[in-house]
């Protein structure tokens, strides 16, 4: 029995860690709860080490979970995302909810556990369970600042849309099961070509729409800006990255599977989502005056590109999606951490608060500049390679017009990213310097290292992404 659990060893590390911290929380006196944060960071590091040191290949849970390249990559990405988010929350949590830190980190661990499973799901039921395991803790975490009206509103939006999307997803899954007579993704993919039926396509569309809610794909993106704007800043650095990467991996696993795929029947619908997401996300970011809302809409736009890679459905495109996911995680987490540091200090994330940041806090401004350039797809940072890689893959799959649309949207994107850069570098500062706590600072440096590192030496990361893509598609 234990042998069949070996692909889940890293997940078990997280479970054991979470349960141990639960007990530690009970015996820790008030005022020392910050230790739990360090403990959680340690658990994520242990989980990451497990993905490198242990052999996680093979099937588990009777074939419902497969420890292939994609599962491994998604685990590493989301564990790293969890680690970065914990670092950013250490000081903030201590100040804002000193007694409830234990709960916060518990929820975070469970959510990441769900994300880690999504990379390797092979069964509809596990897919649904892991998706909820990822999602439900997020609702609670979003509402942690319960006295802040905006936070409660954001949390409620996240919860309500999340509930609706779960319903849509499950409804879709049940139709898929009805048509394909199996919950195994492999069987479903075969059924998609051998016995296609309107019921199957309806189910697939409902599932795509439901999962699209979580990813923030237009027209299911309405919650994104409000939730990002309202909830506590370090939490956004968690919400905005891990769930997206895990979600896109789950979409890829469900819709792309070898030669035949569930994608075939819903491709026009999916492409419509891609186009609307790219256009709306980028255009709606232009008039934003709040940094978090701006990054929220720009994130929506990025999801459009990522989804384009999945819709393209070739090995190169899927590898690009995985590479993009990793790059997006470090870039966006970093950007939100900078915004978090600034918001925490100044009580607002309006863009004019960034005025003269380059002179007030050169480090924060430089970090933000690098993250913005990466989001905008500028050379020598990971965003450039990610975007080009994705365009390359999509073009090769015959989606030339979508690539042109994406490239044009990048020009729009550069406009609003540069606006932030302008405020930081060209406007005159109005207040004193910003002090950033050690945890956040370390997390930002970590993001910076990866954003630049993956941009200068992309090869090892491309190789890993290709291996992950090989799990689903032949090169």
């Amino acid at each position: 029995m234990w042998a069949s659990l070996s692909p889940l060893a890293a997940d078990l590390v997280l479970v054991i860690g979470a349960l141990s911290l639960l007990i530690v929380d009970l015996v820790l006196p008030h005022g020392e709860k910050k230790v739990l944060g360090y403990g959680t960071a340690g658990v994520f590091i242990a989980g990451l080490l497990a993905t490198f040191l242990l052999d996680l290949s093979g099937e588990a849970l009777g074939g419902a979970y497969v420890g292939d390249g994609m599962a491994l990559l998604v685990k590493r990405i989301v564990y790293a995302g969890g680690f970065i988010a914990v670092l950013g929350s250490l000081d903030y949590g201590e100040r804002h909810w000193p007694l409830r830190q234990g709960e916060y980190y518990q929820l975070m661990l469970y959510s990441v556990l769900g994300m880690g499973l999504l990379g390797g799901v092979e069964d509809l039921i596990l897919l649904a369970v892991a998706f909820e395991l990822m999602g439900v803790p997020l609702y609670v975490m979003a509402a942690f600042a319960r006295k802040d009206k905006l936070a409660v509103e954001g949390a409620l939006k996240l919860y309500l849309t999340g509930a609706v999307s779960s319903a849509a997803t499950l409804y879709g899954f049940s139709l898929i099961f009805g048509a394909a007579q199996s919950t195994r993704l492999q069987d479903i993919a075969v059924a998609a070509s051998s016995a296609p039926s309107p019921i199957l396509w309806l189910g697939a569309s409902a599932a795509l729409a439901g999962m699209g809610f979580k990813l923030g794909v237009v027209p299911f993106h309405m919650w994104v800006p409000d939730t990002y704007r309202g909830t506590s800043p370090p939490f956004v650095a968690f919400l905005a990255v891990g769930p997206k990467v895990a979600g896109i991996a789950a979409v890829a696993r469900l819709f792309l599977h070898g030669e035949t795929a569930l994608l075939d029947g819903v491709a026009p619908f999916a492409l419509l989502l891609v186009w609307s997401t790219i256009i709306v996300g980028n255009w709606m970011a232009v008039p934003q005056t709040s940094a978090r809302r701006l990054l929220a809409y720009s994130g929506v736009g990025h999801m459009g590109l990522v989804l384009l890679g999945v819709v393209a459905g070739t090995h190169t495109a899927l590898a690009a999606v995985m590479f993009y996911g990793a790059g997006y995680l470090v870039t966006t987490a970093g950007a939100f951490l900078v915004v978090s540091a600034l918001t925490d200090e100044q009580g607002s994330d309006e863009l004019d608060r960034f005025a003269g940041l380059a002179q007030k806090s050169p480090f924060l401004a430089f970090a933000m500049l690098v993250f913005l350039l990466s989001l905008g797809g500028i050379p020598f940072v990971v965003g450039f390679w990610a975007k080009l890689y994705l365009f390359l893959g999509a073009w090769g799959a015959g989606f030339a017009w979508s690539v042109v649309l994406g490239a044009m949207a990048s020009v729009v994107g550069l406009f609003y990213y540069l606006r932030v850069a302008r405020t930081m570098y060209m406007d005159e500062p109005d207040a004193q310097g910003i002090s950033v706590d050690m945890g956040t600072q370390f997390a930002i440096v970590l993001c910076l290292v990866f954003v630049v590192g993956m941009g200068v030496v992309p090869q090892p990361f491309v190789a890993i992404a290709e291996e992950a893509a090989s799990a689903l598609l032949r090169p």
Binding site: F384, G396, A407, S410, L418
Partner: protein, 519 residues
């Protein structure tokens, strides 16, 4: 297609003892990193060291390049992403040698010209050197992806360079577009910076599309040699060539996509205008020829008429635009549009003389406009004014500046004995030999109009009565600034008197490349 096979087989790869090309590309970059890390008191010296190393490296490359052998030399290759076929592949041809030297001279002069800068010095030199690293790289990149990557690096620092260190000059709100002008803050440095960046990046999006189309049709390769061997389908040639032409052309100031150039160059600080008009615009023209015409010969033949005709419009429009301006920087900026038109006319002729002229004009205009912008910067710094009709008699307080400005003006209007003459002569010759000889006449007219506005400008600013009372404290160029002026002025005369010095490099490459572009 024998011509293509020949150029590829005649490509001699001399195993370099030292990777000089990477050295030249990375030296400014390394200097930029060091400047960012070390205290500000080292900044100027580090910038100078970086520029000197690049210029010296370019000289070494010119020395070790063997024109008689020709082709690509000093090749270096490092695999970047093997599975996607992306390699850090650098090699230099005759054109590359000349353009590297030009870039080296301009950045060297540019560092001297910004020696007295006081505002946020560190950031300025970091961005300037990163930009230059990109420029060096584009001229020697042999992998289309790396070419594109370095091209983007060269384009983007401009945004901050103009936005922070630039100068605003409110344009009078008049005419039917007054409201638009007010809304967009036309003339402001931030407007100029954003306009320049977005227009150039939109051009990049077109280049990207063409690049990806070629990549997949050539069997997933970015290698320029492989791409040159590939016979692309007519469909691809038909749409990808104009995409490259307009995409790269935007940076070269191609009409009607030139509008970023006057605003951008007028708002930019001295060294940045020098670099941007001096070398960056050449990247655009270089891209049109090296990527567009050489990799897509069929498409180029198809569109040649339009390329040449629009280029002719460029020459005339730029010249007429310059004539209408009263602002010193705008005149030089519009003259750049006009002179880049000459480069594009030369390119469109698809003749040996035309291409030789185009490359020579890149160098001649680079040096000339570098000198112009250095001088304009000097005048503006001292007079705090760019409005020409209010000036006069500046020759008395600043004779050295006046002499240098007159020299640049002479080259600009193509006086024999200056670099401009050689370049324009070759281009006109090429145009006359081409399939559309009539291009010669409007181009000649453009050169004539140039003489009018340049001479008028020189007369108003430097000669006649004056200087007016409010310009009482004008001073001539001082030591470090004179270094820049001497260098650039010297180059103009040297290239005009002994054009063979660089023609030795340009001509064999042109002959070989033209065989690829005109099958």
């Amino acid at each position: 297609m024998t011509g293509q096979a020949e150029i590829v087989s005649s490509t001699v790869v001399l195993d370099p003892v030292f990777p000089w090309l990477s050295f030249v590309v990375l030296a400014p970059f390394a200097a930029a990193v060091l400047i960012a890390l070390l205290p500000e008191r080292f900044t100027h010296y580090l910038a100078l060291v970086g520029a000197t190393l690049s210029l010296g490296g370019s000289a070494v490359i010119a020395g070790s390049y063997s024109p008689s052998v020709g082709g690509l030399q000093l090749a270096e290759t490092v695999e970047l992403v093997p599975s996607l076929g992306i390699r850090w592949a650098l090699a230099v041809d005759g054109w590359g040698v000349v353009l590297l030297l030009l870039t080296g001279v301009i950045i060297y002069a540019g560092v001297w010209a910004s020696w007295t800068l006081e505002k946020r010095v560190k950031e300025f030199f970091v961005l300037l050197l990163v930009l230059v690293a990109g420029v060096f790289g584009v001229f020697v990149a042999q992998d289309l992806f790396v070419f594109f990557l370095l091209y983007e690096i060269a384009v983007l620092p401009m945004y901050l360079l103009i936005g922070i260190w630039g100068s605003s000059n409110k344009v009078a709100e008049a005419g039917p577009f007054a409201i638009v002008f007010r809304l967009l803050d036309v003339g402001g440095k931030e407007y100029a910076a954003m306009k320049l960046t977005l227009m150039l990046i939109a051009g990049s999006a077109l280049i990207l599309a063409a690049m990806l189309g070629m990549y997949w049709e050539a069997g997933q390769s970015f290698d320029l040699a492989v791409l040159a061997r590939t016979e692309f389908s007519s469909t691809l040639q038909w749409w990808a060539f104009p995409a490259l032409w307009i995409g790269f052309g935007t940076l070269a100031g191609l009409w009607p996509f030139h509008t970023w150039s006057p605003d951008g160059h007028a708002a930019a600080p001295t060294a940045v205008s020098m670099l941007h008009a001096g070398v960056l615009m050449k990247l655009g023209a270089f891209g049109v020829i090296r990527i567009g015409m050489m990799l897509l010969p069929e498409g180029a033949a198809w569109w040649a008429f339009w390329v040449g005709t629009v280029a002719v419009i460029n020459v005339l429009y730029g010249a007429l635009g310059a004539m209408a301006q009263k602002d010193l920087k705008y005149i030089i900026a519009y003259s750049s549009v006009s002179h880049m038109g000459i480069v594009l006319v030369g390119a469109a002729t698809m003749t040996v003389n035309g291409w030789n002229g185009a490359i020579f004009q890149m160098v001649a205009h680079g040096v000339m406009t570098g000198l112009f912008f250095a001088l304009v910067g000097l005048v503006y710094e001292r007079a705090h004014d760019r409005y020409i009709p209010g000036m006069g008699g500046f020759v008395r307080p600043m004779p050295f500046v006046a002499a240098a400005f007159t020299l640049a003006a002479m080259s600009s209007l193509g006086l024999p004995g200056t670099a401009g003459f050689v370049a324009e002569w070759l281009v006109f010759l090429g145009a006359f030999e081409s399939a559309h000889p009539w291009w010669t006449f409007p181009a000649l007219a453009g050169a004539f109009i140039t003489a009018v506005y340049v001479l008028l400008g020189v007369r108003t600013i430097f000669y006649g009565e004056g200087p007016p009372e409010r310009f009482h404290d004008l001073e001539d160029a001082d030591g470090s600034e004179r270094i820049a002026l001497w260098m650039l002025g010297g180059c103009i005369v040297l290239l005009g008197v002994a054009p063979g010095m660089v023609m030795v490099f340009i001509d064999p490459t042109t002959v070989a490349y033209l065989r690829m572009a005109v099958p």
